[in-house]
């Protein structure tokens, strides 16, 4: 296997193990669509439980979706990594029934610190922009199965 294929395979193996161990993400309705080194695509279809009285997706679930894509992306290299923090900008509402797609991508890294961008879209329209700050914690155990 080439180095590239190995990196892709490692990213998928980590993501599978994370999914198995993370009831919160899957329970909230987030699905992982794709993952690779430094990137991930996740989706959430906006259900009644995600919306407020105006039929608009709660900002908390937009954050949760972006945060999940971020977590898959920043753990994809095989070193256990946690979120130190994040910021999110809300640009357009997500509506009941919308399919939200969150695309995470590494932007920069130095030492144990990483910066990741996540864009949430409905079709081509940007719903929210998220920037995540990650920190590698090599001493933390991997989820079982990696």
């Amino acid at each position: 296997m080439t180095a590239d294929l190995e990196a892709e395979s490692l990213a998928r193996r980590v993501a599978d193990a994370m999914r198995g161990a993370d009831a919160a993400t899957t329970g909230a309705g987030v699905e992982l669509v794709e993952v690779g080194p430094g990137r991930a695509l996740a989706r959430l279809v906006v259900e009644r439980r995600h919306v407020n009285g105006h039929g608009l997706c709660h900002g908390g679930y937009l954050f949760l979706l972006a945060d999940a894509a971020f977590a898959y992306a920043c753990n994809s290299y095989g070193t256990p990594t946690v979120a130190a923090g994040a910021e999110i900008t809300f640009l357009r509402p997500g509506k009941l029934g919308d399919e939200l797609r969150a695309e995470a991508r590494v932007r920069a890294a130095a030492g144990r610190t990483g910066v990741y961008d996540v864009t949430i879209r409905v079709g081509d329209a940007v719903v929210a922009e998220f920037r995540g700050h990650s920190r590698e914690v090599p001493s933390m155990p991997q989820p079982p199965g990696v």
Copy 2:
């Protein structure tokens, strides 16, 4: 009624109307404890559905809790107000069974823009610090009952 009591009463009336209209917040397990002009206290007991495989509360639910307290606080003056964005810093994990308390407080305002701080604690220990950016939208309808 004095101006102070009226302000307190308005904050509670808005919060009651928001709660009635917001299935997402209550459905996620967030309870409003207290509300007043420019401030709110909300709580979440960390259940199995909120945690990952390590028994730690998902960052998405920490954000959702803080965001809910922020929403109550920034709508408390009676003008419909939305979140433009927010940033969160994760300092300590929330664990299965923990009672998380999120205290929101206005920090500064100018024109239609507001800055709010939300601190999430378990007992006295700070779990996360959240800063929310609000924007008044006077043309937006109030939730029914205000």
Copy 3:
């Protein structure tokens, strides 16, 4: 002139007028290298006045450089636009004598709100990542000469 050429020409005209009117940016040593619709490239050579006792560029000047590139980029469409806020992550130090290059690019927009990314590099190494939040203020006067 095609629409594209007109957009490029407008961006340059606005940037020239801004530079003429902005003693702070040029006085701090920031030079505009390139500008176009939704983008700008600015540079700063780190001088003695920019560094602390370790010979490292003060974070305030890194921010000032990124903020200047952001201002050129978000005003490039011809509507007066101000910074509502920004966040910066410091990844590597800038050193005395380094040529810092700040590349600004629009990331998303909705209504009067825009999100811009600015990356500061020395050569290929990322020194800082900046995210700016802009707000159009059509009622604000343009700098003279636009």
Copy 4:
């Protein structure tokens, strides 16, 4: 000397050493007014070199002022500490001749990470709110004289 007095004295000793070693901060016009454990007050009078064509203080210098107060506050405990990042919200303009006062205060800390709030005011009016993220680097040398 009591523990409290020792903490105050240490904060002042570190700040004096930092000032001596930091040409950038003092050269930009920032003065330290007061410092203690986890807090600092700095000031900047807005001069011609700090303003743009509208006579308004450049956001870069507002950031620099807040960042300087943050640096004094987060180094006040005696452990060398750097800024990992920061976010700033601009609420009102600072004008030529204004005396800007930046008050920094620790908000929360966990492990080597700290969260600091800095408010910039002119009189009682809030000009900007800044939140800084610090990271202790015990291996880094102190400025001479501590």
